[in-house]
Point group: C2
Chain length 334, copies 2
DNA sequence: AACGAATATGTAACCGGTTACAGATAAAAG
DNA sequence: CTTTTATCTGTAACCGGTTACATATTCGTT
């Protein structure tokens, strides 16, 4: 592999000049530039990214720290992040944290040593102070996904969970549901809390409202299944279920199927997230779709903006959600 | 951030000695070692990975190039790769190639410039020559996933597609199916070809065998749906479907559901891969499960072996598959 | 004609490690 | 008590770029 000095020597110029040509900065005559480019071509010279990183402290690499890429919500986000990064000449490092603080921290240590340019952070457990510490210690650009907005220097990408939950409930009401339950996710997740709050605020005024219409789930398939069973045992007359995410909604759907309860005729189900899996079942799942790809893409775009110096202040990007009406909810004939 | 020279100065030794302590190579007295470690602790010194990379040409980073992380088969593989890498102190760069040669090549260019230590390559399009070229040009360790074995220096991780296909067909036969069709994946995929071959070899001896029992799919949900429709139109008496992968099997299941055909009573369906999605539907999908996680983990382990110098020769790792019997196939009562 | 500003290029230090080589000391061998 | 060998440590070159600073040349001004 040719080095910048090889190029300089053969072109009869200094390394500084070659560097200027490569980076298109500083003054270089058209003539010398041509000469240098010829030699670069000739030697198939490619600047060494590591040396560049060492000298310039920028490696063209960002990290995406997420709980678990196996969770069906994340692949699409990761894809978006990578697409945008790639388009801007960045490379993406993937880190699975399992939402464990120590893993997150250990990743961050390693990444800092590698002169990573920035981090997209999807975590439900890492406290605000940690984020702040992370950010302030060495002002590494950070963008958070799905976290409560803070007044820190870290931007946040999220979507309208509260409003989305109300869209879900309103939709169930509009098709004639008379008693709507909610399966909520782990309370330490902001998203779960917001969706629960949206549900509760809207239904508490109804005569049928009861606190035990809200049952806990774990944001996974099995949690949704169990929650649905429990729910039906306590309230056999429930005719609408709003689940805190799609996986739990699919779990509920599965339980219905097993118990021989027809969906949507007897019970309507609405999920939240809009992951691809919702199109796999029959009937397909009605859901409040987040712009998943867009969330990842926005996170990457904002991060890169930060890295490149513009947009230094924290900002919150709250994206719209959308009701995707499908087979698990249908207007009831009266 | 403290540098190795800061440590050396404060400890009253040379940088070489500090380096020896960090890397545990060369001779260092217990005394000096203690002294140096004290100072390292004191200054919170962390060796700079980029400088290390430049000097040592090893960055502790591997790349995983795959078609698309959104494809439900890959997240689990990626998770495995990352887990193993992480455990060995490596970091993983994720690259989505969409199976397009030019993207693959452009990634490889970038990655080489970044002194990546090795590559795990899951591609269906890149020719053998390309692999060879890639490998021979600068002997970068490479492990391939799901490719035909070659006599190159590149190891391959795969599973028993041919035998697995026969397991599927035998299972369908054993539960009493009389006419079994196959939905196959894109012929440019080795996996698709092998599964097709396994099916064909086994069924061609039956009187009901007919070439148009093999219909093409695209390895996606919609392809499976369309193929199933097409199939039933031509052969309404088919009572067993073996799909080349789970997504297509789920598509077929969906079609059955829409047409009001009961599964498994009227038609049994068996998929291939064993992705998590197969547990979402009701009935759950019977499938020939590959050890998906194990494949990723093996790939990572083999790659790291190669990187660390041992195991320089190409090898093929053919992993076992397993029949997971579930709701979409059931013994027929006669 | 004189002069400051803009343009063009080179020298050398620097980023922060690794490591070949050499010199010094201590232990083992003859 | 030498000589050989193993152990310990330091100096300085090197990895391959970037960039501050110095110097030289070319313009546009007055």
């Amino acid at each position: 592999m040719a080095t910048i000095r090889d190029v300089a020597k053969l072109a009869g110029v200094s390394v500084a000049t070659v560097s200027r040509v490569i980076n298109q900065n500083g003054y270089v005559t058209k003539d010398t530039e041509q000469k240098v480019r010829k030699v670069i071509e000739l030697l198939h010279y490619e600047p060494n990214a590591v040396a560049r990183g060492l000298a310039g402290k920028q490696t063209g690499t960002i990290a995406f720290i997420l709980p678990d890429i196996s969770n069906p919500f994340f692949p699409e986000v990761a894809r978006a992040v990578e697409d945008v990064a790639q388009a801007h000449g960045y490379t993406v490092i993937l880190c699975n944290s399992d939402d464990e603080g120590h893993k997150e921290r250990s990743y961050i240590e390693v990444l800092k040593k590698k002169y990573i340019d920035g981090i997209i952070f999807a975590s439900n457990t890492m406290g605000q102070e940690d984020m702040q510490k992370l950010y302030h210690i060495d002002d590494l650009p950070v963008v958070a996904l799905d976290r409560a907005p803070t007044n820190q220097t870290c931007s946040v990408i999220r979507s309208k969970n509260y409003a989305g939950a109300q869209m879900a409930v309103n939709h169930l009401l509009s098709i004639g549901c008379r008693k709507i339950a909610h399966i909520y996710g782990p309370p330490q997740f902001v998203t779960a809390r917001e969706r629960l709050a949206g549900y509760q605020e809207l239904v508490k005024k109804f005569p049928w409202y009861s606190p035990d219409l809200m049952v806990p789930g774990n944001f996974h398939l099995d949690g949704g299944m169990k929650a649905a069973e429990q729910l039906l045992r306590a309230h056999p007359d429930v005719d609408g279920i709003f689940a805190g995410n799609d996986l739990m909604a699919l779990g509920a759907l599965k339980t219905m199927s097993r118990l021989g309860i027809r969906v949507p005729e007897q019970i309507s189900i609405c999920g939240f997230d809009g992951i691809a899996l919702t199109a796999v079942t029959e009937p397909e799942l009605t859901t409040i779709a987040q712009p998943i790809y867009e969330m990842g893409a926005t996170a990457a775009r904002v991060l890169i903006e930060k890295i490149q110096g513009n947009d230094t202040n924290a900002q919150e990007y709250e994206l719209e959600v959308e009701l995707v009406e499908r087979g698990t909810t249908r207007k009831k004939v009266t």
